[in-house]
């Protein structure tokens, strides 16, 4: 009796081409598997070797090379390789190397051949060349250091730590002795840490990060107010600081630091600190960083000064594109910059008009909330007001504050919203209760106008004031929308309004808007319908994140899409975004006004081919949307 391999078969069944085979067939295949472990950096297939198995990646990551050593593709969990060599020559044509610790399932040649013969879907899958679009994205990302480096590459020393029992003076002495600008405060439930400034992790098994203290904290929280140096450091440290896992990529660290305006970011491995990333560590990687831009904005003392920064913002954008950043990095950086403008304008506004009579939260909507802002952008914003708000009493103040910010943003390059989605519009200044009621109403009565509003307002992010109010509204939407099938079906319909230009080469659809002549609007026909589509899935799974890539992660985790679709969508969004971004950067550099329109004859063959592929992914996914969220009672 042959032993069943439930674990192995269960894994294979999740991925193409095995997902299309009958279960019993996959069970049989699993029993023939051979397993092998490869350490990161080791060769799996070398050119010219005999090859007798199809390789399936169970965990880890593998790079496939051309014979000349150029990277051909990068593969991860669930992907296969070796099929072309098996089919064509039984010799390795494309060498493979493990770039992470990797576990492979090998399927013997005889089993592979038999599957090819008996199942068309299997044969078709393995005979078609690897997904070109994915390769295009991989190749692009290869160029950026920040994209491929893990945070660990940026950490230059062990973290310097002290126990929660330490005094401010002791901590300052320790920092001076070690020559560091930040120090981690550890909770150690048993005995305190010993004298050593840097610690072996096993000195205290259960220690957890309690806080962080920086040079700046010592200045602003200790020296300036004249605190007793013998007081506990816990009085002045930042409690429960934001941290990042050791597995994160360098660009995630950059995004996190940008997003929260941090100068020191502790990196944890299994809850234990392994280092602290400082702004300077990132800047070494990303010269003239967008991090600088944020602090520059915060230093300006008038709207006029702020308005003069626009060329620098554009230069920062062009630089990031040139350095090979991906669309998530660029979109996040530009969004943080946009948010910082709003924050500074609100500070200046409050300084001019006096403090607000009631608590409020200033909202960013749309692309800025999604961390997907680029250089061509208008302002979408709104205000959440305290429930005690009385128009007669407080209306005047918030009208003036909104106008101050909105006019300021316009001067800084964020043009007025043509749809009047701005806090200057009294309709978009509501109390917390009113917003909740409005959102509930849109979800319950999804008429065309409501749906249009949802696609703008449901991507919301607090930028100033009572930020938790924005988070609460976001949670409210996430909770209510997923249980409203009629709303989801309507929103899905709405997401089909804008279609991709299929038949891209021959008879593709172009915008005839006079000014741009025959061209394709990559936002209207590409990224916007993709974000619309991703939003529907994201609301359906109750995701609270806003960024389209992060939404896709949540959607993929929820398992509501067929396997591979989330990756396809991610690649499609990344590719279209990057074509759009590169063209805007080229416009900026040439002194033209950047736009979302491109003329097809301006595209390289490579871009055309991959755009076509990306539009196909969008089109197929739109069809799936109709099927996934059917209209009830038709």
């Amino acid at each position: 009796m042959q032993a069943e391999q439930v674990e192995i078969a269960g894994f294979l069944k999740q991925y193409p081409p095995f997902d299309e085979l009958p279960d019993t067939e996959v069970d049989q295949v699993a029993c023939q598997v051979e397993i092998s472990y490869y350490r990161a950096g080791s060769d799996i297939f070398q050119f010219g070797d005999e090859i007798h198995d199809l390789a399936v990646i169970r965990s880890g990551a593998v790079e496939i090379y051309r014979r000349n050593g150029a990277l051909y593709n990068r593969l991860s969990e669930g992907e296969i390789f070796g099929q072309l060599s098996l089919l064509m020559s039984q010799r390795v044509r494309l060498p493979a190397r493990a770039i992470e610790d990797t576990l492979l399932y090998f399927i013997p040649e005889s089993v592979f051949m038999s599957l090819c013969e008996r199942y068309d879907s299997f044969a078709y899958f393995v005979e078609v060349d690897d997904n070109m679009l994915h390769q295009a994205v991989v190749n692009k990302q290869e160029k950026s250091d920040l994209m491929v480096s893990k945070v660990t590459a940026l950490i230059s020393r062990l973290p310097v730590m002290a126990d929660t029992s330490a005094t401010i003076r002791e901590v300052a002495q320790k920092m001076t002795a070690a020559g560091v600008s930040s120090l981690l405060i550890m909770d150690c439930p048993r005995d305190g840490l010993n004298e050593a400034a840097t610690m072996e992790t096993d000195q205290c098994a259960e220690m957890t990060l309690a806080g962080i203290i920086t040079d700046r904290d010592l200045r602003t929280r200790v020296v300036a107010p004249g605190l007793d140096l013998e007081a506990s450091v816990t009085d002045v440290m930042t409690v429960d600081p934001i941290t990042l896992d050791v597995d994160a990529y360098a660009f995630e660290a950059m995004l996190t630091m940008l997003r929260y305006n941090l100068h020191h970011l502790p990196i944890l491995e299994d809850d234990r600190p392994v280092g602290v990333l400082a702004t300077s560590d990132i800047i070494r990687y990303e010269s003239q960083s967008s991090l600088y831009m944020v602090s520059t904005i915060l230093r300006q003392t008038s709207v006029t000064e702020l308005a003069q920064l626009q060329p620098q913002i554009n230069a920062c954008f062009v630089r990031m594109v040139g350095e090979g950043a991906n669309s998530h990095m660029i979109g996040s950086a530009m969004s943080v910059i946009g948010r910082t403008f709003k924050q500074r304008l609100l500070e200046l506004g409050e300084a001019t008009l006096g403090p607000a009579p009631l608590p409020y939260c200033f909202l960013a909507l749309g692309s800025m909330a999604r961390d997907e802002q680029l250089v061509v952008t208008d302002q979408d914003n709104a205000l959440i007001l305290d429930n005690r708000y009385l128009p007669a009493l407080h209306g005047e103040y918030f009208q003036q504050l909104a106008a101050f910010v909105s006019d300021g943003l316009d001067r800084c390059g964020y043009t007025y919203c043509t749809g009047n989605i701005m806090a200057t519009n009294p309709e978009w200044r509501k109390t917390r209760q009113e917003w909740q009621q409005t959102f509930a109403d849109w979800i319950d009565n999804p008429n065309p106008e409501a749906l249009l509003n949802c696609s703008i307002f449901f991507d919301l992010d607090g930028v100033w004031g009572k930020l938790d109010w924005a988070a609460q509204l976001n949670s409210f939407i996430a909770l209510k929308a997923r249980h409203s099938p009629r709303f989801l079906a309507s929103l899905a319909r709405n997401a089909l309004n804008r279609t991709p230009p299929l038949g891209f080469f021959k008879d593709f659809v172009m915008e005839q808007d006079g000014q741009h002549g025959s061209s394709i609007n990559l936002k209207r026909r590409g990224t916007a319908p993709l974000t619309d589509l991703i939003r529907v899935h994201s609301l359906a799974v109750g995701a609270k994140v806003q960024n389209s890539f992060e939404r896709l992660d949540d959607v993929a985790d929820a398992g509501i899409l067929p396997p591979g679709i989330a990756t396809d969508l991610r690649d499609a969004l990344e590719f279209i975004s990057m074509v759009r971004i590169r063209h805007q950067a080229a416009d900026v550099e040439a002194g033209r006004t950047p736009s979302n329109n491109i003329k097809p004859e301006m595209l390289t063959d490579f871009d055309r081919r991959n755009l076509k592929e990306a539009f196909k992914v969008l089109s197929n996914s739109q069809r799936f949307l109709k099927f996934r969220y059917p209209m009830a009672g038709r």
Partner: protein
């Protein structure tokens, strides 16, 4: 530390082959043992895992056996084996959800005696690899002894002991923590994570045997080499 006072396994096997009265055990010992100085790349291995009704080899019993032959490069699932065994005493209620094996599954299962020959055949001439040897070594010994009046001993590679050694935990303190705790499957998962091996649903003897084989391959790749002599690892 792992016990390094070298046991002369070749001599032991020779002696036991003469002393054993049961034919199956005689044949097993007659197949001999891999030489101590054999480089790891040439050692035929077989990962072995038991699920048991409890922790005490004197009272508890084996209810399933999984094994998979492998070498330092390939784990061969096509040669893997899995048996359910009928315990004399039956399952205690608490152990049922833990293993996911039910009474009715075991009602039709054979006694160890009926499959002993197949088990010994599968491991003879190979080095047995386990994660935490005190279970597999002691349970097999006492189950065989109960039935045949004589026990069984052979060398093992214990991936858990290798981890303990590598991470410089004192083995004694580790064992102390573990005695009375049949929870080394958690340890197996933890050890695997350190080598970036995937998470497997556990408490299935065959899955755990495969997981152990993968762990040893990873340990060899990271900590040893193809030429490391077997004697550095076995106990």
């Amino acid at each position: 530390m792992v016990n390094k006072q070298a046991i002369d396994w070749a001599a032991q096997f020779h002696e036991r082959a003469l002393k054993a009265t049961d034919e199956r055990l005689q044949r097993f010992y007659q197949r001999g043992v891999v030489a101590a100085d054999t480089p790891l790349a040439e050692v035929p291995l077989v990962a072995l895992d038991f699920e048991t009704t409890g922790l005490d080899p004197a009272h508890d019993e084996i209810i399933s056996i999984g094994l998979v032959p492998f070498d330092w490069q390939r784990i061969r699932l096509s040669e893997s084996r899995y048996w359910l065994l009928k315990p004399n005493r039956g399952l205690t209620e608490t152990s049922v959800p833990f293993h996911g094996i039910t009474h009715s599954q075991l009602d039709d299962a054979p006694d160890l005696m009926h499959i002993l020959e197949a088990v010994l055949e599968a491991i003879a001439g190979k080095i047995v690899v386990v994660h935490y040897r005190n279970i597999e070594r002691e349970f097999l010994h006492s189950a065989v002894k109960k039935r045949l009046g004589e026990g069984i001993r052979f060398p093992m590679i214990d991936t858990m002991a290798l981890e303990a050694m590598l991470y410089r935990y004192g083995l004694l303190s580790l064992l102390k923590r573990l005695i009375g705790w049949r929870r080394e499957s958690i340890r197996l998962g933890d050890s695997r994570q350190r080598y970036h091996l995937p998470h497997y649903g556990q408490h299935h003897a065959l899955t755990d045997a495969i997981a152990t084989a993968e762990l040893l391959q990873a340990q060899i790749r990271h900590r040893y080499s193809a030429t490391t002599p077997l004697s550095e690892l076995w106990v």
